[in-house]
Symmetry: C2
Subunit: 419 residues, 2 copies
Amino acid sequence: MINKKRVVVIGAGFAGLQIVKKLANYDELEVVLIDRTNHHLFQPLLYQVASAVLSPADIAIPSRSLTTDFKNVKVIMSEVTKVNFKSNIVHFQDREIDYDYLVLAMGARTSFFGNDSWEKYTFGLKNLKDALALRRRLLVTFEQAELAGDVVTARRLLNYTIVGGGPTGVEIAGAIAELSYQILRKDFRNIDPGLAKITLIEAGPRILGTFHESLSAFAQAKLEKRGILVLTNSPVKKIDAKGVHLPKGLIESKTVIWAAGVQGTALAESLGLGLDRGKRIFVDKQCRAKGKENVFVVGDAANFSEGLERPLPGVSPVAMQQGRYVADWILNDIKGKTSKDFVYNDKGSMATIGRKDAVAEVGNWRMKGLLGWFAWLFVHLFYQVGFKNKISILITWVWSYVSVRAGARLIQEEIPKDK
Amino acid sequence: MINKKRVVVIGAGFAGLQIVKKLANYDELEVVLIDRTNHHLFQPLLYQVASAVLSPADIAIPSRSLTTDFKNVKVIMSEVTKVNFKSNIVHFQDREIDYDYLVLAMGARTSFFGNDSWEKYTFGLKNLKDALALRRRLLVTFEQAELAGDVVTARRLLNYTIVGGGPTGVEIAGAIAELSYQILRKDFRNIDPGLAKITLIEAGPRILGTFHESLSAFAQAKLEKRGILVLTNSPVKKIDAKGVHLPKGLIESKTVIWAAGVQGTALAESLGLGLDRGKRIFVDKQCRAKGKENVFVVGDAANFSEGLERPLPGVSPVAMQQGRYVADWILNDIKGKTSKDFVYNDKGSMATIGRKDAVAEVGNWRMKGLLGWFAWLFVHLFYQVGFKNKISILITWVWSYVSVRAGARLIQEEIPKDK
């Protein structure tokens, strides 16, 4: 009998899932996937859960059913609390497991750049809980405004400010505009949801700063045409109950959405590994935590910058490619072979503004408008995990597009704590 | 200009929705629909949200989008606190509205027959919150059992008892059996979900007591074949942290589901109208609260028993027919015409046991097995409100059937309270 090596993967995101898939059914390996939740989450569509288009289950698939046929893969739903790198042991709850290879793929969390007090005035958009809380807030403000019935109150309630002009900020701004100015408009009698004021705030000189300037300009023009106020060069000074304080004054806002930044997780922070300012773990050219032989860090949790001008961005193609790379690295290693360094193959990036408008670029090749939108739709369906989810999302999109309605316009109450 | 009459409808369930639909676009009438939630809930499929098959939004449609085209209908999301029958005023939050006709259609809530202390040990199945709490409990017990990894702990955790052998109890028992014995079985490595023990408890001599005896026997045999222990003649003496105490002893159970009874709502109780033991409001032959000229009670909130051997059952066909009847009554009344008494046209009843098995009866006409199942599927799709929901449910069902998976196997965390 062969001496099985054990690979422990922390996190069932884009990176973790690719590793597990590539290592599936290798009898020499036992793979253990540990995640706090019971599902893989397709984060790029999270904003559509918030904007009441999709249901949580549309973008969340149980890790277990993704690994049903991988006989050498075990899934553990638990939270890792500690790693002992000397004895190669991962601790979770009151249990532990030892590893031959460890892959840290736990992603990132919202960062307020040291202003943690802002959290209580803002809605994040990193997990399902965030998205459902924001969905509820959005829908409830319209209900409250309808109940009040006067324009002054409505204007105060229907005031949404999004901080951060990256893809997430642009996409949620566009989605709220669609909800307010199109979908809800025909359903209210006392107030006009079109009264909503939507403001997108970006600290830098332009939104979608990682895209080509022409696409930034296109996106801004399209957002403005859709009724969104876009403020660039507007670093946030403070957020409080009144709203967002900018150098040029206060943007009053009942609802502030924070899409301005992420940082490494609390676990990453606690491990004693080398971290950048964003609490990402520095890795070498083979995606290993600096100074560790058998510990890999991939995806949003990693700072991969060796030999590069700037670190690789926290986007899903990086995570997926790093995941596959690490899987291959491990397979090579157990055969006694060495691996080449990781090289990122830039697949480009895209962001949608709303129906019929998106921007996309791959190297010097750029798309915008309707064509960009179709590309965006295709890519987001194609990379969606699971046949049923693809179908379900496709149908919801077609139906939403045709009927100008929202598929999951549901104000959910709290689910009570477990008994 | 005509003097508009106002109809206030409390509750957007099966009854309330029928009234609103029938009164839609009559210029002489203003219709106000008040509901605590923002949606109509298709309760007959609630158990499938609990058993991780469907998403909440599959069976919940915003009341506003159901009434988009009804220009004379206003929707208010609020909780009615008081009714002043003398001055014809409904109070909700810090507001009030007067009515010419009032329709009480607020449904029912779980009843513990005076043993309210049992609530904290049991899961109800009357609203989305209930269903999601139960879904989480079901899925979490399997995760915990897998983590523990030993048979003794697994047996303790995977122990589900359903109290109440009516359609809801039978359906959720069947669904848990499918989840444990089929769907989850291939996805766990340390424990076998097939270890689950499922017990259905009925106080009376047979399950599905309102059905023909042959169908009760068929359903019991099918449930037993699916691995469910069915205990009839077993009135519950007590429920506590250990489980369910029956005359013949304790059924130990980590998870107890209460599907044994309903009663009128707290609002119904507070109105000062005549109530039966189940807190349902007594109505006359024209669905009016006894002694009131312009106050109707319909659906589960009503006790309609005048001239009948027993009160009409709390099922959706009664609610829908009463809703339409009251709408017609009001339309007659504004034309100065009187209405005939309400007559219930029994559409029969059905209950599903699991894939390929259901029972159905209409008068003396009975169906069971595969044919009953198809009838059940058809009826539950047909009466589902909204095209998108029909399609979404149909696809989920076909997919679940073919793949033996659950479409919404999602352990959701609490949604944080609003900020």
